[in-house]
């Protein structure tokens, strides 16, 4: 598999980001319903891994799926029309953004945390029998690695020697829970204990991710069994759009934060319940979580992978501005086409 040049990786990252921002706008306008988990912050993972896939490889995604779909080349207009609930959407308007799938691309998302692992194991099993050299790839969050079927798959994939790559996207969070607080051991070490080949990469560095993915995929394709790529990255837009944790931690003096705080304080001083120390510990932990959320990398921050890639391309003399403009035009045009014929209620 050829590796892709930095400029191309940056373009894919830009496409993924621009797509998410477009989705956000549509969501805010009320044109997309339900939970919306943006993949902002994961662009280097999506670009670094998905550019290394071939036709015939299967890809199992999660609730946070669009960056990988965009990079995989799933057509943008049908994807957007699906999210807009149109019957000519990618899935006829029946699936929505959490259950997007494209048979043609052998890619499917699921809103069930952990389900991407067994699903991709199945893709890998089919690849082994039907498409030699092809693989199954699962994207999974750090939180997902505690789900029974995910852990079982760590065993199954070795028992069946499956060409399976699991990409654990470790953003440090599962909704409002810090990964570390409910996750024992180190995720890579877990997989190693089952006999997996494990590589770790920094999700700010798309070339590093690509390199690692490319090496692991080559192993998988050669029939050397399953591999885990553990990548850390920021969660730029909270768990989902409108995430109250993010909102409140950013606006500690806003009315929502004050209301929550009021409720908490009044409960904390109610008679009956834990001792003073326990109550104080709770408060400290809650405030700590909010502080962590507040300090999380934001869009365009120094640790935004898109910015990191942007600067790297620039340093290398790449035509960043041209790429940006092309990407912007592509997404804008996709959105425009996707909205065609839709009565925009907020216009």
């Amino acid at each position: 598999m050829q590796t892709h040049g930095l400029a191309e990786l940056y373009r894919q990252m830009g496409r993924a980001r621009a797509f998410e921002l477009a989705v956000e706008r549509l969501w805010r306008r009320g044109l997309i319903s339900g939970e919306m988990h943006l993949g902002t912050g994961e662009e280097a993972v999506a670009a670094g891994v998905v550019t290394q896939l071939r036709a015939g490889d299967g890809l199992a995604l999660t609730h946070r799926c669009s960056p990988a779909l965009v990079v995989r080349g799933v057509p943008l207009v049908p994807m957007l029309r699906e999210m807009l609930g149109q019957s000519d959407g990618l899935c006829g308007g029946r699936a929505g953004h959490m259950h997007l799938s494209s048979r043609e691309h052998l890619v499917a998302c699921s809103g069930i945390v952990g389900a991407s692992l067994p699903r991709a194991a199945g893709f890998a099993l089919a690849a082994k029998r039907l498409r030699e050299g092809a693989v199954g790839v699962a994207f999974a969050g750090d939180g997902a690695m505690n789900q029974g079927m995910a852990l079982e798959t760590l065993n199954l994939a070795v028992a069946w020697s499956l060409p399976l790559l699991v990409v654990c996207i470790d953003n440090g969070w599962a909704i409002t829970t810090r990964a570390g607080s409910v996750t024992a051991g180190e995720l890579g070490a877990r997989a190693e204990a089952f006999g997996w080949t494990v590589a770790r990469a920094d999700g700010l560095e798309v070339e590093e991710v690509q390199r690692a993915a490319s090496e692991l995929l080559a192993r998988c394709r050669k029939g050397k069994g399953p591999a885990l790529l553990h990548v850390t990255c920021p969660r730029i837009d909270g768990h989902f759009l409108g995430d109250p944790l993010l909102e409140q931690s950013r606006h500690l003096t806003g009315s929502a934060a004050k209301q929550t705080l009021g409720r908490v304080m009044s409960a904390a001083v109610s008679s009956g319940g834990g001792g003073a120390l326990q109550r104080a510990a709770s408060m400290v932990k809650m405030v700590g979580t909010m502080a962590k959320a507040r300090r999380e990398t934001g869009r365009g921050d120094r640790k935004d992978p898109l910015r990191v890639a942007h600067q790297a391309v620039k340093r290398a003399g790449g035509a960043v501005d041209v790429i940006d403009a092309e990407v912007e035009a592509e997404i804008a045009s996709a959105v425009e086409r996707a909205l065609a014929g839709i009565e925009v209620r907020d216009a």
Binding site: S33, G96, A174, F240, Q278, M286
Partner: protein
Amino acid sequence: MRELTFGEAIDKAIEDAMARDASIVLCGEDVPLLRPALYARFGADRVLAAPISEAAFLGAAAGAAMAGLRPVVELYMVDFVAVALDALLNHAAKLASFSDGDWSCPLLLRAPCGGGYGDGGQHGQTLWGMLASIPGLTVVVPSTPADAYGLTTTALAHDGPVVLLEPKLLSAEWLEFLGRGGRETMTFDVPAEGARGAVAQAGEDGAAVPFGAAAVRRAGSDVTICSLAVGVHRALQAAERLGAEGVSCEVIDLRSLRPLDVETVVASLRKTGRLVVVDEDYREYGLSGELAAVALEAKLTPRFARVCVEDTLPYARERELAALPNVARICSAASALMA
């Protein structure tokens, strides 16, 4: 009496019970920040953040219930019970039988359920029929804050495992969290009486609602509409509309699926001879069938229609709303029975 939202009512019932009974602990994903008041008041020993390991923590809760605690377990959505069903089906629900009544498993499982906010087919199920098919389990679904408080209170004093489902459309907190997300641009068809209302204080009359007791929400003589959760409110609206057309509907809020209040249903059917089941669960092999059986077993032969969810819930808003039991479908079902 005080005015509470649906979600507040459940929270409050749990909080009141936890203050009374030190053996109650709460666990689930994110509970420290989902239930911050409980976390602040009772601390991390009694409000336990869980990893995304539903089978383990539900199973552990069932074990803890055997060993003297009264765990309340939160699932993020009832849809996810599918990864942890064994703990209910083969363990919690069977313990009393396996021990010939000697051992019980006082476990409360709380989970949001239902659609109507466009979250797609893996996140809008109710699955209450499936759960209610399990002997040994109690399954209740309130439709008002008062019942939410009352049924939770009863559950927390009950000696066996209870599943209490929380319709997201009635629960302002869940709807905001999962559906609105701070947007002014989204509208939901929320039944106001279900979302907010008067709730008895602990110890007051009505503060505990017994299991197996349905509530007649509206008296009528032509058609019995049996429902629960959001469906009750849709049924009441439909009954209003049908009333204007001269069709008198009795609306029964079942509240408790297992045990089921057969008497109330049968008494109503005796009067009306017509039954419309409004059920946000799947149509086949569920509540609507059970009520048909209840009628026939009572030697009643009502005219019958069911307004249920017939397939995987579609994502697109309009199609979801059409797939859910809605006022129009209820009205036409009831009218057809009058023809």
